[in-house]
């Protein structure tokens, strides 16, 4: 059995943040957490390590070097991390896991469920959820070591629900003993009994309702939308689905989202009515009226837009946090977010 383990500069003992630009290196045997994998029964033959910044900034080049080493080793399993809550490390683990996975190498990694590495892995690797703190190392290592052993031996592994890894977005055909109708009724009865079973994972992201805006007539208000509303011609190429970015557009001197100047590029609904009058998506005309009447203090001078279709929740949450940070910085106290 051949086992390769990937670590960042910190866990490989190459240095801390000052070594985040460290070149990829190939080390013999187990290093750092790899020793914990060995204690748990998974012998590590080769450790690959790289600085997190080097990986993030020169991803293509670094990946090529790491993958070349992996190709030389032809491992039976690759273990990346665990990365816990470290975003850059998680991203590196997820990206390497994806690329190795797509080349036929079984890969297991572990990180917080909202790590960018989970998205980066794109279902090509088994990602086990962890907390954000390294203090979980002692319990995480044996779990991924035993799973990796099974992968290396080519054993069948069960579903995400059975095994505890994060859903990979893959569907597997299985033979059910009972008809869909009977199983649907069972699910409904179970749900009525309080037992909710679904493969659609709730985000669990609960924020307490913010207090009311004390005085809207003095408040700065902003408009935000996921309706894919952009200037005509979509100058910044906002994707119609699976948006990878949000955009902001100026509203200085704009009193209405006219059909001659704005459109929706959202691929998740019929935009005919919206494109006849984009105020049907972002109610700028009316908000300007209310601003002129003094009902709100002032409208923020840009509006924010993205397309909310097929967007992974983690990506959408990231957009939301980034937009919210800007709004907060700009002193915006009230937001009308429109969704389609």
């Amino acid at each position: 059995m051949r086992v390769v383990h990937y670590l960042n500069q910190f866990f490989a003992g190459l240095g801390g943040e000052e070594a985040a630009g460290h070149e990829p290196v190939r080390l013999e045997g187990a290093v750092g957490p790899g020793r914990g994998l060995e204690v748990a029964g998974l012998p590590v033959d080769v450790t690959l390590a790289c600085g997190d910044d080097a990986f993030g900034e020169r991803e293509a080049e670094v990946l090529a070097r790491l993958l070349a080493w992996i190709e030389e080793e032809t491992p039976d399993v690759l273990v990346c991390g665990p990365a816990f809550g470290s975003g850059r490390y998680g991203y590196a683990c997820g990206s390497l896991a994806r690329e190795a996975g797509r080349r036929g190498v079984p890969v297991v990694t572990a990180m917080t469920p909202d790590s960018p590495g989970v998205l980066a892995a794109e279902g090509a690797a088994y990602v086990f959820p962890t907390g954000s703190s390294v203090t979980e190392m002692r319990s995480v290592l044996p779990a991924i070591a035993s799973f990796a052993l099974r992968l290396a031996r080519g054993e069948r592994v069960g579903s995400a629900e059975e095994e505890g890894y994060l859903p990979r977005g893959l569907r597997t055909n299985v033979r059910a003993e009972r008809t869909g109708a009977a199983r649907a009724v069972d699910l409904l009865l179970a749900k009525l009994g309080g037992d909710v079973r679904t493969e659609i994972v709730p985000t669990g992201d609960r924020v307490a309702p913010p207090p009311p805006v004390p005085d809207l007539t003095r408040a700065r208000m902003a408009l935000v939308t996921e309706a894919g509303c952009v200037p005509q011609g979509n100058p910044d190429r906002l994707p119609g689905r699976r948006a990878n970015a949000w955009l902001r557009y100026p509203l200085d001197g704009v009193t209405s989202l006219g059909a001659d100047s704005y459109e929706s590029v959202h691929a998740g609904f019929d935009t005919t009515a919206a494109n006849e009058d984009p105020n049907r998506l972002v109610p700028l005309d009316v908000v300007r009226e209310l601003e002129a009447e003094g009902r709100i203090g002032a409208l923020h001078d840009v509006f924010y837009t993205t397309t909310g279709v097929d967007t992974p929740v983690a990506a959408a949450a990231k957009f939301g946090q980034e937009i919210a940070a800007e709004l907060h910085e700009a002193g915006v106290q009230a937001v009308i977010l429109t969704g389609t």
Binding site: T203, P209, A273, V286, I336, T338, G339
Partner: protein, 67 residues
């Protein structure tokens, strides 16, 4: 606050101030109305949104446009 025609989904993701929009394809308008009536409807929606922004609400509260 969130204006959407799919308030249950808004609740699922944990939005707190949710106002039911007109439809998925035009949350703040209605092409079946005459222009003046549609504008009045949009104003009603935004005024209701302002009211909600100024009101203390519990988690995942859904309001309809007309009180």
């Amino acid at each position: 606050m969130f204006v959407t025609a799919l308030p249950t989904i808004a609740q699922m993701i944990g939005a707190n101030r949710i106002l039911r929009g007109v439809s998925i394809t035009h949350p703040t308008g209605d092409p079946s109305l005459a222009v003046g009536d549609e504008l009045a409807l949009r104003r009603q929606i935004v005024e209701r949104a302002l009211e909600m922004l100024a009101t203390d609400v519990g988690p995942m509260t859904v309001w309809e446009t007309s009180a």
